[in-house]
């Protein structure tokens, strides 16, 4: 059924992505590809893999943005451009437009945990859900002709054949910078919810009305180097080597 669950799911499993530490290494991108190409549904194909037009299906991609501050709100960095690496996959929206547009019922949002999935056996590959998603979270696999998307590694997170500690999405498990966190965002006391509260986690494109489950933690505000300690440093200033050696002798006396 491509209507959204009538009542809010008991759980809202999702990701929290920390833009303050993502170094843009693409580890999550490839780990996702690797897990999912042999996992849920059809393989994630790559067209022209060794040729000029190489392009494949990915469920998670890392964009890089350059942000040029306007005005002086950012301490110590006004006027300094910065790079922000930006991983993006399905946000498992509460109001997922991709689900409601699906003509066949292949797209659905699970009532038990809010994960948005595609039943590939029912997917006709019309592509409308990809159009409906403002985030680019859905990609048609050109070999299989069905829509692929992040499953939140539904075949890992409940998988009883792997260790409990590994029952997290592949991207989260692999992230070397600890920029990806997974948990229940419906539970205000969950680690991810607390993180979102503490760091002012944000929704992407809130104006689209999709109410994403995944949250992004914005880069932390920067502090100027030496703020507060500069005065202290100058106070003990010594002019030239003579004064310095006099001080040094004093120190040696005390040791």
């Amino acid at each position: 059924m491509t209507s959204l669950p009538a009542t809010a799911p008991a759980k809202k499993l999702g990701l929290v992505i920390d833009l303050d530490v993502c170094v843009g290494c693409h580890a999550c991108v490839i780990s996702c590809k690797e897990w999912n190409t042999g996992g849920y549904g059809a393989a994630l194909s790559d067209q022209d893999p060794y040729g000029a037009e190489v392009s494949g299906t990915f469920l998670n991609r890392v964009h890089s943005f350059e942000v040029i501050p306007e005005g002086g709100e950012i301490v110590g960095e006004a006027g300094e451009a910065r790079i922000v690496h930006f991983p993006k996959s399905c946000l498992h929206c509460d109001d997922a437009p991709c689900v409601t547009v699906c003509p066949t019922g292949a797209s659905y949002k699970r009532t038990e945990d809010g994960i948005v999935l595609v039943d590939e056996d029912m997917c006709i590959g019309c592509g409308l859900c990809a159009w409906a998603c403002p985030y680019g979270a859905r990609e048609m696999d050109l070999a299989a002709g069905v829509m692929k998307k992040c499953t939140l590694c539904v075949d890992r997170i409940y998988n009883e054949t792997i260790q409990e500690i590994d029952r997290v999405p592949s991207c989260v498990r692999t992230c070397p910078a600890n920029a990806r966190h997974y948990g229940d965002l419906a539970d205000p006391q969950s680690e991810v919810s607390l993180m979102v509260a503490a760091r002012g986690g944000i929704d992407l494109m809130p104006e689209q009305g999709t109410r994403p489950v995944n949250k992004y933690l914005p880069p932390r505000p920067r502090q100027v180097l030496g703020a507060g300690s500069e005065q202290a440093l100058l106070a003990e200033n010594t002019d030239g080597a003579t004064g310095f050696f006099a001080w040094l002798d004093g120190v040696l006396e005390r040791i």
Binding site: V21, I30, R82, D155, A227, A232, L233, T238
Partner: protein, 949 residues
Amino acid sequence: MKSKPRVELSRPVSDEVRKTTCYMCACRCGIDVHIKDGKIRYIEGNRDHPVNKGVLCAKGSAGIMQHYSPARLRAPLLRTGPRGSGEFKEISWEEALGIATDWLSEVRADDPKKLAFFTGRDQSQSLTGFWAQQFGTPNYAAHGGFCSVNMAAAGIMTIGGAFWEFGAPDWDRTRLFIMFGVAEDHDSNPLKMGIAKVKKNGARFVSVNPVRTGYSAVADNWIGIRPGTDGLLILAVVHELLKARKIDVDYLMRYSNAPWLVIDAPGTAEHGLFARDADGKPMVFETVTERVVPKGTAGARPALSGRYTLEDGRNVTPSFALLAEKYLDEKYAPEAVAAETGVAAETIRGLAAEIARTAFDEAIFIDQPWTDINGERHDGYVGRPVSFHAMRGLSAHSNGFQTARALHMLQVLIGAVDCPGGFRFEPPYPKPLEAHPTPHGRAEHFGSNKPLSGPHLGFPRGPEDLLVDAEGRPQRIDKAFSWDAPISAHGLMHMVIANAHAGDPYPIDVLFLYMANMAWNSSMNTAGVIRMLEDKDPVTGEYRIPKIIYSDAYASETVAYADLILPDTTYLERHDCISMLDRPISEPDAVQDAIRWPVVEPDRDVRGFQSVMLDLGARLKLPGFVDQRGNSIYKDYADYIVRHERRPGIGPLAGFRGTKGDRTGRGAINPDQLQRYIENGSFFSAHIPLEAQFFKHANKDYQDFAVRMGFFDTPQPVTFQLYSETLQKFRLSADGLREPFAPETHRQRIRDSFDPLPDWYRPFEEASVEGDKFPYHAITQRPAAMYHSWGSMNAWLRQIHTKNPLYVPGPICDEHGLKDGDWVHLISTHGRIKVEIARMEAVNSSTIWTWNAIGKRKGAWSLDTDVPEARKGFLMNHLIHELLPPKGDGLRWSNSDPVTGQAAWYDLRVRIEKAEAGETSEPRFPAMAEPGGKREHPEQLRYGQEWAK
């Protein structure tokens, strides 16, 4: 509305998990390779592994595509077309090894130095070095000379170790982490994990890097320095710290040579050397008794300043007094260096203040009594929670050695080496200079059919240890350890082809290379190197470099230039050891090493390179490779790893030694050792006792532990060498005061660059070209998802970096009327390239850059000839020459650091000119054939489709 119960939630991932060690970069993470139906289903980080603790980078996860890449070589190859054509015929191993043995045995009997054996991406240097030593050629090194020898050599000569494999920041305790321009593809997972910890702990991360990508992007403070001026920035920080008296005097007195007395006798052969007693022990001035005593005298309180007269009348002064005087000079004041570094004076002062505040106001204390090397008991460890990391950015300049020295000095001045919260050594480091060998390779060290009398590489203690002849001429093909590059501890691989081509200092017969893409991205002046490889003697019609043997797993550009190819396996098909004898993976708290083993069997006629070396060694009857009867000692590399002993009881692997497998470090051969490693996840880890974990350079328990482990046979404490006597000896030679004298041609150069105290001078290329003709810097950065050139044959990784634009700072774009997608000529004193640009703001305003090694030659790596890598990708290498522009003296110096010979990749100066739009980057090269025949490429990959439900 219920969800459909149509998802299989608990499908087993694989049939079996095989744990081995990654080799997608030099990080050496532990990996769990999931095998399903005999194929690789999934590769993930090994949670128990001390290096990566479960995480894995993009390259590691893309191991599947690396392993199944069509660019894998399939069988030994013998060249049939001209060099560079890529035309080969497949031959048997027997034939290949027979040819190699013929070539090599002739050289060994005739003149062993006619073999130049250089390895690139080698993680088995203890074997390859041993092989070369037993062969008897003086011409062996790995690739450190064009990688990071500046950092390694400066570190060892200053504190007994450097970063990465020598030590790491105390990530859990550090409060301020400062990183100087670094390669995102090396040691990447530990750095990423560390940065994440720093951030999580609310500590500060400062990045000093002209380009704000990768790690710099997440730095709390980014200092977009002008390339090549880091040393000046560091010395300005030192100036500020001294001025504000924010140094750890007690630490300096105890652990450094700050109190050692330096002889002040200008014009004599001992000027600037340490005053020593009859036993050669350096002397200090004891302030209570006002006497000169040997260092380490119990109860002595040595002076750090003042001027004293020895009984024999010589004037001396503590080295620290020289140091303080030098850096307190106003030429190191922040205002004085701001213009040169491009860093505002207040930023430099802020950095110094932050370092001072963190080191001293946030000092930490760990309540763990310990004993120092002099027997003194301490209540605990005092920590200065400021830590540093640096690598390529500092190293790859012609002033890199001194810059790296400056950074190590800074750490010592604030007392932050091997303390809680600071930089911490990883066993077997620290290792004092004296524990390293001196280099071997002079004429008396080798001869026909005999081994070299000692290791090739090491550290000269002074000019007397150089590998030069009586006339001062270089003895090695790369001119390592000559007056050109006296402390070239890792050799100069980047000079080998040029020197061999020129027959300078002599011609060679066989060039033997392993996994180094010297005909493309690993050489400066790529087109020139290609010409040298192709060049023939007009008289004989023979190639100037007559025979080239190359081993690689993939059809790289260099394959096409070799005559004989020995195809290597992929990293999942081989045995390897990451050895304490080599470049281990220890952590500050633990001794660690690791193995690789074939988790899948090769499906081609390929062999692991190390096994091939053992085979060749046996065929050549090299001592150490054959027994008295001439039979080969080792079956293959796996056998060698287990049974080889470097010293009695000490072999390639430290773990599971002894007949019961219960000995660590030293112990008898254990035939089950590899199996034990495999059962343990392919690594071994032994913790350092708590009382030995810090101040390892002077910690008695650690030193005893190191002896037990077999790192040393006697304790080898390290006294940090802020003032380097070795460098001063070279200066005395340059001044004609101390024998051997430096040649006239080299004297000024040595005077300028061998300051015994860390120093800064302008990088050579910048100093030699006219600034207004070449106003900008051009450098490369390493993308985190690629490792050198080894990523483009990987169907998943190449999608991330299919081509590389030239990133041009906004102000330069505006000045030249450039916008995204425009084409430009980038011109250096050596050459020009034509490439497509992209604008960028988050970069030093005089620094143009691109990603490293994305550009590929047409036909290489088994890619189609029209791929973006070959059409629009490009190398900066074309702009960099292995020699500096000619100067008035008629000499052309190597484009290297004058101390170590480190290739000065990042000294490049350029100008930019708008060009007409193009379709293909320039210079262009003709396509090369695929070695061993063209492989049909699949139109699409559906990896794992057979496992889809």
